[in-house]
């Protein structure tokens, strides 16, 4: 699982680089202020302000929810705070918030529930100073589970809102 994630991150990084190579950003974002980029062997090409940079810098790009709930708990607040910090550093970057639900709900209700969760996260980020105009939301309901099991653990992973950097 961990290895898979790493591979994915690298792939995303490469795509991001390829995308940026054609069209460099108009003004260069300031260098990251804290902790510095992990100068590990594969990370050298991560562009500051990119999706890969976001995913490397924040605590997590995903927050989770209780069954049929959409409130932001303490753990999620810490995650969103780290996202807000990164977003403050790159004020021109737009994000999409994807809301998801587990499979134990009806299809249309889950679409609405996913929208509620995405908006809940959006509102929190806005309260932390991120311009809401930078944040679009989309609900996938129960259409895109990340954990494929049919048990409490899988469902807990699937009740989520994911912040995706658009670039």
């Amino acid at each position: 699982m961990a290895r898979l994630t790493t591979t994915l991150t690298v792939a995303v990084a490469l795509i991001a680089v390829a995308g940026c190579a054609k069209k460099p950003p108009a003004d260069l974002p300031p260098p990251p202020g804290n902790s510095g980029p992990g100068p590990g062997s594969g990370d050298g090409n991560i562009v500051p302000g990119s999706r890969a940079d976001f995913e490397r810098s924040v605590t997590s790009n995903t927050i989770h929810f209780a069954l049929d709930q959409y409130d932001i708990n303490a753990e999620s607040r810490a995650i969103l705070d780290s996202q807000a910090t990164w977003l403050a550093r790159y004020p021109n970057v737009a994000v999409s918030l994807e809301g998801h639900a587990d499979e134990r709900g009806t299809r249309e209700y889950n679409l609405a529930l996913g929208d509620r969760r995405a908006n809940s996260a959006k509102n929190y980020l806005a309260a932390r100073g991120v311009n809401p105009a930078r944040i679009s939301t989309i609900s996938y309901g129960k259409e895109r589970p990340i954990a494929l099991g049919s048990d409490e653990q899988a469902w807990a992973q699937n009740r989520r809102a994911v912040t995706i950097v658009l670039n």
């Binding site: 134990r104 299809r107 609405a112 996938y140």
Partner: protein, 467 residues
């Protein structure tokens, strides 16, 4: 697509017009034909409530042809065999009939279609007899004759003739089965109808979903979208010319998914965006007169129900809560709407007038209630109930007489047959290999059947009876 109209020719005059050759449907045997002793004079009737436990024995011998003629649908003798199979399968699928295999029955010569050998059939163990014929007409059409007999009473109960273009030959079989079903049960017909649904394949985390349409029995299956975008919750319009559905078509500029409601035109294969909106719009439902489409729109986390003209235009808001209101369904007369709302905490069913006034809760049992669908007869509302298992059930529009019809891990999204006697839904399995399939169940909670589809299936919507 060529316009293909099925002509229903009623009884005697019909067959006379089309059958210059035998079996000139002379006249049906006189109603007063002698009944065997001990035979009640009462009519042959199938009880739709009790009939499931003792299905009626019915013999449907292979339909002969007046002359073997090659047609675009195949030679007429083969068509006769295939049509007989369609009638057999339809009646059997209702759970109310127990047809013998056509091949196990005696061959019926063409002239015998209108003059059955009752003595023979009386010994064959069936109560009813369906005979028919196929004939190729000079103008390229086919005539299919369909006759229903009461074996014990030695009488003809009803006959109909159907003239179809060869491309629509299967519909003649469904019409024949509908005639038999309706005559013997007193219920409305439903076999000559279509189903739109979402065909599914691929891994659970990345399902490929395609819009598909097929006949009620799974024949004439056709994919309508290519699977590049997620599609959900299709519904046939009352005129059966279009399908409203929800799709995650990618935005032209940014390539981002933009979930929205579309109208797919079956004749042209073109689709149009119904509700242009930056917000999530979903759950489209067409009004019985075809003039309106109910839908749900999520604004800042709250979802409410709106209606928009089918042709497009300004939407009108019908509900206004901070919660989630969705899944509306019109009553058959178009005056009321049943929907689900979590305004009380969990999902429950509510009924309101078509203009949004007088919203009233009708479900009060334990658990959550969702996906309400008003029966075409008007007297029941089907739903998904979530309390442990997800189950299909029905309740009266006033809220009483709740009955659960299925009991599996996850049954969802019922849709009524055109006559309001059968419910189609989808059943999901557990885990990463968990698939979804289309199933049907009788209104009395028996006769659960899995429908054969090329791939997995979900979100079935049963269309109206075809004209």
């Amino acid at each position: 697509m060529r316009k293909t109209l099925l002509t229903i020719l009623l009884a005697l005059s019909a067959t006379a017009a089309h059958a210059q050759q035998p079996p000139a449907p002379t006249s049906a045997p006189a109603p007063g034909a002698p009944a065997p002793s001990g035979q009640q004079s009462g009519e042959l009737v199938v009880d739709v409530e009790g009939g499931q436990s003792a299905p009626l024995g019915i013999a449907i011998p292979v339909m002969p042809t007046s002359a073997v003629v090659s047609t675009p649908a195949g030679p007429t003798d083969q068509l006769g065999a295939q049509l007989t199979q369609i009638v057999t399968n339809d009646l059997k699928s209702s759970g109310l009939f127990n047809p013998s295999a056509p091949s196990a029955l005696k061959a019926v010569p063409y002239p015998e279609v209108t003059a059955p050998t009752f003595d023979y059939w009386a010994g064959a163990g069936a109560s009813a007899l369906v005979q028919g014929f196929v004939k190729a007409n000079g103008d390229g059409t086919l005539t299919v004759g369909c006759y229903l007999y009461d074996i014990a009473a030695r009488t003809e109960l009803i006959r109909q003739g159907f003239v179809v273009p060869p491309s629509d030959w299967r519909r003649a079989g469904h019409k024949c089965a509908d005639m038999v079903y309706t005559k013997l049960t007193g219920e409305g017909p439903y076999f000559d109808s279509r189903v739109v649904y979402v065909s599914e394949t691929g891994p659970k985390g990345r399902r490929i979903k395609r819009l598909a349409i097929m006949d009620q029995d799974g024949a004439n299956h056709r994919f309508l979208t290519n699977g590049q975008s997620i599609v959900l919750t299709p519904r046939l319009t009352p005129d059966q010319r279009s399908i409203v559905y929800m799709s995650y078509v990618a935005d032209r500029a940014g390539g981002l998914d933009r979930p929205a409601i579309y109208v797919y035109d079956l004749a042209s294969s073109r689709q149009r965006l119904l509700v242009p909106a930056a917000n999530l719009t979903f759950a489209p439902r067409v009004s019985p007169d075809g003039k309106w489409v109910l839908f749900s729109k999520a604004v800042a986390g709250a979802t409410n129900i709106y209606r928009v003209p089918f042709a497009g235009g300004d939407a009108q808001k019908l509900t206004d809560t901070p919660g989630i209101d969705t899944g509306g369904s019109y009553s058959p007369d178009g005056t009321r709407i049943v929907f689900e709302s979590d305004r009380s905490g969990g999902q429950q069913l509510y009924v309101m007038n078509a203009d949004g006034t007088q919203q009233k809760r009708i479900s009060f049992g334990g658990g959550r209630y969702a996906t309400p669908v008003w029966s075409p007869r008007g007297n029941l509302i089907a739903f998904t109930k979530m309390a442990g298992n997800f189950r299909i059930g029905v309740v009266s529009p006033a809220g009483g007489n709740e009955q659960l019809l299925t009991n599996d891990w996850q049954d969802e999204g019922p849709s009524w047959s055109p006559n309001g006697r059968v419910l189609m839904f989808f059943r999901s399995g557990r885990g990463g290999g968990g698939t979804a399939d289309l199933w049907s169940v009788d209104l009395t909670g028996v006769n659960e059947r899995k429908l054969a589809t090329p791939l997995d299936g979900s979100d079935p919507a049963w269309g109206p009876l075809r004209p």
